[in-house]
Symmetry: C2
Subunit: 231 residues, 2 copies
């Protein structure tokens, strides 16, 4: 289970840093880390397909992964972009259902796969862990409701603004670098690249943002927020 260049202790340490696992003691962590697998993916490789059985969840150590679906017409719709330190697949693990989307590496990546069995064991006798898991899932669910709200009540410009002003916890809240190609971000916002481009152009003309390649500077956060107009 321990990958070539990572000792078992390294692995346990890494797992211990996952917020989800904060309430586990060393023994519990040890059991889990013994069951954990290490994965390496090259850019473009698939981690799992939509429909694959979900027997555990993933932690992204390094690289970048996208979760996406194919539309009936073959178009790809990106659900979420996974960055290092994030986990995914926790939800599906607890029900007997397959993954609802597929996962593909956008660049060379390293992941940990944590199988469900030792997790469920850790659940027994560690209510704190259960609560953490519940809170984690709830947060996801909350995010999903927001996503549905965005998709069903906001137009293209509002969705782009929502994305731009979203707090990324960076040092400078008014400058952001797009985490991927514009086409991919567009797909996440359920837009075509063309429309995304036009919206950015328009916002720039209106002096609300400044675009330089993948770097965007928010010039007038207040007016932007005004355009968003929450329900």
């Amino acid at each position: 289970m321990v990958p070539g260049n990572m000792t078992h202790d390294d692995l346990t340490t890494t797992l211990g840093k996952i917020p989800l696992f904060a309430s586990l003691d060393d023994d519990e962590l040890g059991v889990i880390s013994h069951a954990t697998h290490h994965h390496r993916l090259l850019r473009g490789e698939m981690l799992f397909q939509k429909g694959d059985p979900a027997l555990g969840f993933y932690y992204l150590v390094e690289g970048q992964v996208k979760l996406a679906l194919l539309a009936p017409d073959g178009q790809e719709k990106v659900i979420q972009l996974i960055e290092p330190g994030m986990t995914f697949g926790e939800a599906v693990m607890f029900i007997e259902r397959p993954f609802p989307a597929y996962a593909e590496a956008l660049r060379a990546s390293q992941l940990l796969f944590i199988p469900r069995t030792p997790l469920i064991e850790a659940l027994n006798g560690n209510p704190g862990f259960a609560l953490k898991l519940l809170a984690g899932l709830s947060t996801r669910l909350h995010g999903m409701v927001n996503e549905i709200e965005a998709l069903s009540t906001r137009n293209a410009t509002q969705r782009v603004i929502g994305f731009l002003v979203a707090d990324r916890g960076h040092d400078d809240p008014d400058t952001l670098a797009l985490p991927a190609s514009k086409a991919l971000i567009a797909s996440q916002l359920n837009l075509t690249p063309e429309t995304f481009s036009r919206v950015l152009h328009d916002l720039q003309q209106r002096q609300l943002i400044e675009v330089d390649g993948r770097t965007i500077r928010l010039l007038d956060r207040d007016t932007l927020l005004g355009q968003e107009e929450p329900g």
Copy 2:
């Protein structure tokens, strides 16, 4: 805590029938039922507003409730229709966030409000309960992913078909009664009533369904499923 026409034992019995609570013993159930409140709503009354703190979850005993949002332009978008026997609000309870949507009674309704505190106590020392909760939330999350998929990759007709063929666990799977007005169903599918009407009309012309008021008969389930064309 016990409503006028419902004894404490009645209440405990009712709670015991909630699948979520199946793994609780009588003591645990007793604690929870002591904390439970009974609510009555008239048609049109609000149960909670979007933004209200979520201090517990609800179980619908009788009546009908809708969860909905307001779009920036004041339009209402129905998220979910709650029928007797269903619970809602479990997810939000575990994070320190307010309700992401509001709840309004569509007809005179009776509900139980189960506060979070005794639940969290039951979680301690009852891992089975934790697992049930996790499974419940996961199922919701799964449903949300499907909803996002529907909203972002399917057109009006495909969404309507998806709604029509959805298994409602009835005796006759090919006949269904719309659970609410067409306008409300349309909103759930993120359509205007006009578009919904036109889609139904079109499907009827193509001999795929038969519409009589709120009763719809599926004449050719196979062809319908073919139109849906999953990714």
